[in-house]
Amino acid sequence: MELKGRHLLEPLNFSVAEMDDIFELAERIIKNPKNYAEVCKGQLLATLFYEPSTRTRFSFEAAMLRLGGQVIGFSEPNSSAVAKGESIADTIRTVACYADIAVMRHPKEGSAIIASKYSDIPVVNAGDGGHQHPTQTLTDLLTIKLEKGSFENTTVGLCGDLKFGRTVHSLIRALLRYKGVKFVLISPEELKIPEYVREEMKRAGADFEEILDLKAALPNLDVLYMTRVQRERFFNEADYIRLKDTYILDKAKLSHAKESLMILHPLPRVNEISTDVDSDPRATYFRQAKNGMFVRMALIMKLLGIE
């Protein structure tokens, strides 16, 4: 199926083959960015950010500009315009008159789906509440693929807040579509993976284990996906203080890991990866951010039907 004109609202909107197509194009862009510097000339990307997310917005805007396209949009929530669902419909209808593709971020779940119903141009969901963030999943997958070659026989550790981390849930669900991925879920009791994700792993027949200790899990991992354990998630501050160091990756813990480990993080990082890890070749998270731009370049091209 062609990707031209489609929306990307949820991480699994595209088939494995369609995602492979995007990754393949992203790899070509990485190899030869110059070849793509003008392909979107005359095209306009609209960034509709109802809540600020500078990192995500920059990544989309940089992607479009590097393809030779132009960018319009807003990045500050105008509370009067945000209030009702109807205004999303009207905003997207209007924007569709001017732009060729729209990227939307909104604090309420399901907003991107509403927008897509009223839009003649492709809508990309750049995060809606605690719900979905599909281009982060694309970024994560591309990064693993680039560095590991394939997903098969990979042991992926996911560490930290597995209960609410939407990027973690989406990544697991996306990886379940590939054979031979083993999951190690590392989190405090209070922030374990939700039951429905666990059920999904069982249904897919995936090999997974849930453990409490990062250090114990490290030696077996090929990929480590880190997220932050937030203080506010705990009713008792004492529990947080007792636990927090367990889920911080530092040089000492990293000495137990494989030489080939890759460390991912959706960023922004606070203190869950100590800065002494940054210079380690296994620290992949800044390369991952760069891949985020490339995969968005590939996505924009595919949705616009260029190539």
């Binding site: 399901g110 509440g129 209070e190 922030l191 039951e195 429905y196 506010e232 998630r233």
Partner: protein
Amino acid sequence: MNIIIKNGRVIDPQNGIDEIRDIYVKDGFFANLDDLNGSKELSFFDAGGMIITPGLVDLHVHFRDPGLTHKEDIETGSKAAARGGYTTVCPMPNTIPVVDNKETVELVRSKETEFVELAVVGALSKGENGQELADYSGMMEAKGGICALSDDGKTLMDYSLMLEASKRAKNYDLFITDHAENHDTNIGGVINEGEVSRKLGLVGIKNSVESDIVERDVKIAKETGCHMHIQHISAKESVELIRKAKCDGLPITAEVTPHHIALTEEAVLIHGSNAKMNPPLRTENDRQAIIEALKDGTIEYIATDHAPHSEEEKAQKIEKAPFGIVGLETAFAVCYTTLVKTGYISLAELVNLMSVNPAKLLNINTSISIGNVANFAIFNIQDKYVINSQEFVSKGKNTPFNGMEIYGKTMLTVNRGNITYKAGAFLM
């Protein structure tokens, strides 16, 4: 139909009115006398000696529909509301299926009657199972939407999930209305833990079962700024926590039921399972703390927690009988008699607690002003009457107030300009 009400004492705190006035209703709205010129159908009532209040608003009812309609359905519940002087009520989501998605919100809404308006409350978690958050955006999108979120008696116990729910609720400008019960420490409690539970050999429910969760919810209000509303407060410790949180400027509020205002655990000795509800009736100390909190504004709402059950269900041994009592058809009279007649608070303050404040929370305007939608009730506060539960239009007759001599009988209720209840003795 157009309506003229003569000689009633209008209590309308929003307009600062407490005086004898005539009221005119034309085509659903409060009007002037001149507007009624030429009306064909005109109802006339003499409300001499009676009071007229804005329509009452109940933040907490269980209409059991869909799924448990042997206890109540939306039509009988709505008629009971009208008979109590109510014009808006908030049905809770613990039906079968649970109101946790767009379709079920719309199903409930589709059953709304002319008798009372429904401000639907949606579930916090899917199926009220405490595992996964419900579809808030879907419920908001439903026709008519929802006004608040609650997991009812299940209480969403998981702290971090509750925190996440409150963040999302705040995004949607929804408040959370929380049944404060620590399910980790309440193991099979039947009534208040105290003298009566010891006398009857029943498992008790400690005050801390409630106040633990109030404390948690205060913390959540502080963390996220989400408006946390505590349902049917019963324990003096909870009152104190809320008073302090409000002093600290946190978005926290509380409601109390007529039965926690009027009764103590002693009522269980007389009324058995018809005095069994959750939270349970507490001690006189707790009751006095609640009255004090009503006086100083710590508690801003009176809500019934109208919880109908069939007579068979309530006829079981008290350990087995379900929690809950009906309240819609007795609330005003019980509160008037207990709070106003005794001099604890004024009539205007009672109207604030039962109409003005809950209406504000739901963003509706109940003031008796020309041009406003005509929602009001008339009560007889001069003559005593005896509560007879067999006269209830609710399917539930489960009340500890049966046989009580009381003041404040509902004489007439008007919702959107339509007469939704009229006492038999009230002559036109």
